[in-house]
């Protein structure tokens, strides 16, 4: 058994444990410094992507290419809820925190899966979240866990009891706003973006004081009158311009910059009436974490008419002295952007793309005229769900590869005028598959971020909504729509182990360790599975 990964377990609180009760309390405190240094305590999973850089990589290597074949189920927790189970659990010092559909939040003994507490929010009957009553996870800071609700509240719960510490109403859910992503804890702030791009909302990213719930700043992703970018909207279209921010961003402690991507402009399938680039829809924003002030922005898809939210985790990668952001975008291109300036370095398709056949002077893919939706409908690749969607990628610093689940799916996009009505669906028509569509499929793809080229792929019979985890054991873990949870050789893509969970995977795996034993966890169907070596 290789235990090199465990030799690195440098959690200060493990040392402090020896001095007694006070130290145990100190241990329960997840400080900002601990999250910054999350790589030093791989036994825990302290934030949505495992670290601030968005790598979803772990240095644990007990489960590796030689041992993974004997992986077995350790415990299973059933939420009792149906609907897509999208959580990325967090693990802190032996306790696992997750969220389920219908705004459930649970804390489990990570050794056994036995619940410690369960919180379920009573939701109003008239919420209509577009894409399921889902939630992707909590943030943890100090002795509290934080999450956003489907009726647009932000809440802090006591980490030991689930008691409500504070509950803040961010915005009126009746106008189509909701929260689905896991917040990001930075310094003493809880940062999260709003969902609701299907309703003609005006998107924003909020930061709340972790102790009090007081809102410290709000960045509107659609600029108001007098603000830069406001002139990229026609008339009053900015008021209902969309640009939600429904995925967890990343953070660079060196520069105190948050990197947060945004979603589609509204209405998603109709550009008429909102002539212009429609900033900051489908944009990567660099924001000062203390103030929410914009440092720079990079727009992936200008004036989007295909619902291609750029809500994919922006992954921080350093190449020598170059500090970069990598993003596999829903529009089918893999982008590398300089994270000090927002300058584009690379845009390469990693799936079938028909909407763009040229690039502008800066290297951005430009939409071909014949890619716009028409009243009769027009076939465009990728389809509305994109070449990827919100599922987390991973960056493995050992192989230097970026792994993402890609979808190969084209759709017919149609458009029609649609009056805006507050709180009602606002798509400007719709998309649907045509009779002559090829079968949809998917693949886990390993991309060389330096070139954007695909190194290997592992095909799925149908597109997968699973995130990906990489580990120092030379492995990548992912799930599929057929219910398999799979470990593959990170270097070659060869499947080394698989387990049938019995339900489609709509979540991303994590890993953690207890008593020198490494665990892998994944939500599938309505159950949370953990695996370890026997």
């Amino acid at each position: 058994m290789r235990i090199t990964g465990f030799a690195k377990l440098g959690c200060a609180c493990l040392v402090l444990l020896a001095v007694g009760v006070v130290a145990i309390n100190a241990c329960a405190q997840v400080t900002f410094v601990r999250i910054v240094n999350s790589a030093k305590e791989p036994q825990n999973w302290l934030t949505y992507s495992g670290d601030y850089a968005g790598h979803r990589f772990s240095s644990l290597d007990q489960i590796n290419t030689s041992t993974v074949h004997s992986l077995v189920v350790k415990w299973v927790y059933q939420t009792g809820a149906t609907g897509k189970f999208e959580t990325t659990p967090l693990v802190v010092d032996g306790i696992l925190y997750g969220t389920g559909p219908e705004n459930r939040v649970f804390a489990l003994d990570a050794h056994t899966g036995r619940p410690i507490w369960l919180y379920q929010r009573q939701l109003p009957a008239d919420i209509r979240p577009c894409c399921g009553r889902v939630n992707r996870g909590v943030a943890i800071l100090g002795d509290k866990v934080f999450f956003g609700t489907l009726d647009a509240h932000v809440m802090a719960l006591d980490a030991k009891t689930g008691n409500v510490i504070w509950d803040v109403n961010a915005v009126d859910y009746k106008n189509g706003y909701s929260f689905t992503p896991a917040p990001l804890a930075v310094k003493n702030l809880i940062v999260l973006g709003v969902s609701g791009g299907e309703y003609g909302i005006r998107g924003f990213i909020d930061a709340y004081d972790a102790d009090t719930g007081q809102r410290k700043w709000r960045f509107y992703t659609v600029p108001g009158p007098g603000e830069p970018g406001h002139d990229t909207w026609e008339g009053d279209s900015w008021k209902i311009g969309g640009a939600p921010a429904w995925i967890t961003g990343t953070y660079d402690p060196e520069t105190n910059q948050l990197f947060w991507p945004t979603g589609n402009p509204s209405p998603s399938n109709r550009g008429e009436g909102r002539v212009g680039d429609n900033l900051y829809s489908n944009t990567l924003l660099a924001l000062d974490a203390d103030t929410g002030k914009l440092s720079w922005h990079f727009q992936f898809t200008r004036h989007d008419e295909h619902d291609w939210d750029s809500t994919q985790v922006p992954v921080m990668i350093d190449e020598g002295a170059r500090h970069l952001i990598a993003q596999a975008n829903r529009n089918g291109f893999f982008y590398m952007v300089d994270r000090t300036s927002g300058k584009l370095l690379l845009a390469n398709p990693y799936g079938k793309v028909t909407w763009s056949d040229s690039k502008d002077a800066e290297g951005r893919p430009v939409a071909a005229k014949e890619s716009s939706p028409t009243p009769e409908g027009r076939r465009v690749c990728p389809g509305a769900a994109g070449t990827t969607n919100w599922m987390s990628p991973t960056f493995d610093s050992q192989t230097g590869l970026f792994y993402v689940n890609a979808r190969e799916q084209c759709d017919i996009f149609s458009t029609a005028p649609q009056p805006y009505e507050a709180g009602h669906a606002y798509y400007g028509s719709a998309y649907f598959p045509a009779d002559d569509t090829e079968p949809y499929w998917g693949a886990l793809r390993a991309i060389d971020p330096a070139t954007g080229k695909i190194k290997w792929e592992f095909p799925h019979p149908s597109p997968s909504w699973s995130g990906v985890l990489s580990t120092a054991g030379g492995l990548v873990f992912t799930g599929d729509a057929e219910g398999n949870f799979i470990a593959l050789d990170a270097a070659s893509g060869k499947p080394l182990w698989h387990f049938q969970t019995g339900g489609a995977v709509y979540a991303a795996p994590i890993t953690f360790a207890l008593d020198r034993k490494q665990y892998i966890a994944i939500a599938a169907g309505s159950s949370l599975y953990t695996f370890s070596l026997p």
Binding site: C131, S462, E482, G483, S492
Partner: protein, 295 residues
């Protein structure tokens, strides 16, 4: 190496049935049912005859319904043509409201708000969709052409349809059960499926949490012992396949134990050209399927 499957893509597919009917859906359905009980009480469309409501309903239709029922409600391969006044689950205002709001249990028609398309409709919006459907409704003949009695004879006799297809519990198992096809599909769609069975493969196994159904794909495998088996896939994932062969035997196979695994989108069903089945006989078979499917 990753498992390689041999996709033969020259034919088009039914691809997805936007079927996210989950138990979550049922909860939502129950809530909606309770919430809209008052609105359901009315049995006539409050917007009847209002062309503006029909126009607004068209937007709602595109967002919520066109994914399966096609643009213009002409049928999309997954959902039936809704322009026909004869509908299996009723065509009165209240029937349509119920069908849209509650779905049709046991079919691909999900309750309002659980389709994965759109965000669900208010009662008002459902009535607007019904207004739209009325605006595109076409009159269908009282009696469709063809002789259903002769069609039944052919189905179970000379045309050998029943070798692979069941109707009302009688017939073969290799192909889809056709008991309800006459209610779900337009006549020209059924004709095309007989003449060009590979154009769209029928959906098979559908699971609550899966985005796409399994289709009636043809699969040919060679086992480790060298036995060749040809059949249709009942289910397939990256590592295994569950298939039925032409003798209706079930085979559950792990792909890594196979010498070869080949999938094809050329249907196992023979294409019935006019030389095999003339237009008149086919019309009779369709008349039979319509008579069973819409009863």
């Amino acid at each position: 190496m990753p498992v390689k499957t041999d996709h033969v893509l020259e034919h088009t597919s039914w691809s997805l049935l936007a079927l996210l009917i989950s138990a979550r859906g049922w909860i939502a359905f129950l809530m909606l049912t309770l919430a809209s009980a008052g609105l359901c009480a009315q049995d006539h469309n409050p917007f009847a005859g209002d062309p503006k409501a029909a126009k607004v309903g068209e937007f709602q239709f595109r967002i919520n319904c066109a994914f399966c029922h096609g643009l213009g409600a002409r049928g999309g391969g997954r959902g039936p043509d809704l322009r026909r006044s004869q509908k299996r689950h009723g065509n009165s205002d209240i029937d349509l409201f119920r069908t849209i709001n509650q779905g049709i249990p046991g079919t691909a028609m999900p309750p309002n708000g659980t389709t994965g398309q759109g965000v669900g409709m208010t009662a008002e919006e459902i009535w607007q969709v019904i207004s739209y459907l009325r605006s595109v409704q076409v009159k269908t003949a009282e009696q469709p052409p063809g002789d259903p009695a002769h069609g039944k004879q052919l189905f179970y006799g000379d045309a050998s349809c029943s070798g692979c297809h069941m109707v009302d519990g009688k017939g073969g198992r290799l192909g889809p059960d056709l008991s309800g096809v006459g209610g779900a599909r337009a006549a020209d769609y059924i004709v095309d499926s007989v003449r060009n069975p590979s154009r769209r493969l029928a959906p098979g196994l559908t699971e609550a949490t899966k985005e796409f159904p399994q289709e009636y794909e043809k699969v040919t495998v060679v086992t480790s012992e060298g036995t060749e088996i040809t059949g249709v896939t009942l289910n397939e994932d990256s590592f295994s396949v569950q298939l039925m062969d032409a003798n209706e035997e079930l085979h559950f196979l792990e792909k890594d134990g196979l010498r070869s695994f080949k999938k094809s989108r050329v249907s196992l069903m023979p294409a019935y050209k006019t030389s095999l089945l003339n237009d008149k006989d086919l019309e009779d078979i369709v008349a039979y399927l319509l008579s069973v499917g819409t009863k």
